[in-house]
Amino acid sequence: MHRLSVVTRVENLAEGIKSYWLALDSDLNAEPGQFIMVWIPGVGEIPIAVAYEENKKLRLVIARRGKTSNYIHENLVKGDRVFIRGPYGNGYIYSNVRRALLVGGGYGASSLLFLASKLVNRGGKATVILGFRNKSKVILVKDFTEIGADVIVCTDDGSYGIKGLASEVAEEIMDDFDAVYTCGPEIMMTKVVHYALSKGRSVQASLERIIKCASGVCGSCVLEPQGLLVCRDGPVFDGEILIKTEDFGRYWLDKTGRRIDISRLKN
């Protein structure tokens, strides 16, 4: 069953991206990289990464993408009830990491924010490269700065920060870090993972697939041919495992369980 939470604050982060702060009855004790299922009664239920959790306060960053996320953007205001279950999955492994490079794209920045705060709290150093389409899509820069991370922003069109792809900027500075984390569009993550491994860097990436049960039974979130489950073995995977996975960067299962090209599902 779901837990009840109440919206305490809604922030407009950028065009089509909002942040929701939820008050919980009790702590989830989520780890960065884990996700929850957000149920909007009568509308739908979708997986969302934990952007921050502390003291019965949970932060989510939600991009407008379709039925449920649209509804959330259009209707959810302070005081509204939100129903959640989880946390699910395995988050980032980050104990003993000193200098971490975080590479995020779009709302993928969200789980990296939680990770950065944990890293910094443990005395580590976090440098985050955030990539967006253009200035109107830029999010969370101030939040990363506030928790003490170094932030580099890039946009495709140069309208904010560096012009270029986050993955390219990452390649330039990767030598300075001992661990790399990435969350964002899978094409971007594929590049980051391949480059990092080629440089002998440990790298972890957080993936998306269709999540239905979130409990490792329905198989809808599988990565083939290893049969890895995003909801249970992931959503964060080690790069070494991902590069052996045909589906990484290439295929999703659609809702029927047929493998389709990744570009056809991500919109």
């Binding site: 409990s215 039974v217 329905c218 809808s220 041919p225 029927t256």
Partner: protein, 305 residues
Amino acid sequence: MAKLEVTVAGIKLRNPLILASGILGITSGLMVRVERAGAGGIVTKTITKKPREGYDNPVFLELDVGYINAMGLPNPGADYFAEELRKLENFHIPIIASIGGSTPEEFTYVANKLKIPLVKGFEINASCPHVSKHGVEILSDRKLLSEIVSSVKSVSNNSPVFVKLSAMINDVVKLGEIALESGADGLVAINTIRAMAIDIWAKKPVLSNIYGGLSGPAVKYVAQRVIYELYNVFPDKPLIGVGGIEKWQDVVEFILAGASAVQLGSVIAKKGLTVFNEIIRGVKMYMEQEGFRNIEEMRGLAHRT
């Protein structure tokens, strides 16, 4: 040494733990993982003639006493799935294809498509409690049940055909009899029981489909009862027990009740795939302690007076 091998309707299993339908058995990669985890066999997700997307989320709920799901039989359809199965190489445990449909023609279409060497048997899903016309309605229509069983049997190439029953029918033994008389080689019991959950703060049913199927510990004692009832009447027939199995003790209970083998379903949500080896160790230990040499010796013992 206690032996765990069993032969169920001619299908050889290295141990009596079969993966239940609807749990992970939807891609070749997952089946390989399940084989490596130690399962004795695999029942595929229920496959229909046409692809199905299933219902919208929420489709799965964890409860204090088990789970409720209303996946809505999502599956890629028989044509696609046959190709998926053909990807399997060096695969050693038997696959039983679960078939869904609402007419004999749909069932035989799927059975014909999935008639490939790795598929050692068929399981007719006549008991899904939440997809209209694809489940318990079949059991409520005895003539339809009989027709479906005999048509699947007629195309199955001598592979054994199992019928999966529901506890939502009081006279489940009668239905088992009809299934067996229509040509089924064995029976599987039970599928989930129709149930629903309501959230008091949302004041709404939680599943998008409203109704779903209850599984897990809540249904274990009902499933054991059905197996016991069936064994009373059909002690020589292969009977596969499913419902709420979470630990080795549960497996022993089902076998004592009369099960030839068992299936594991929603426990995977709680324990993951390591549950197969955990249970195998426990059952072995029990058999050695109690002096059983093989599963067959244990089967149905609870019926002795």
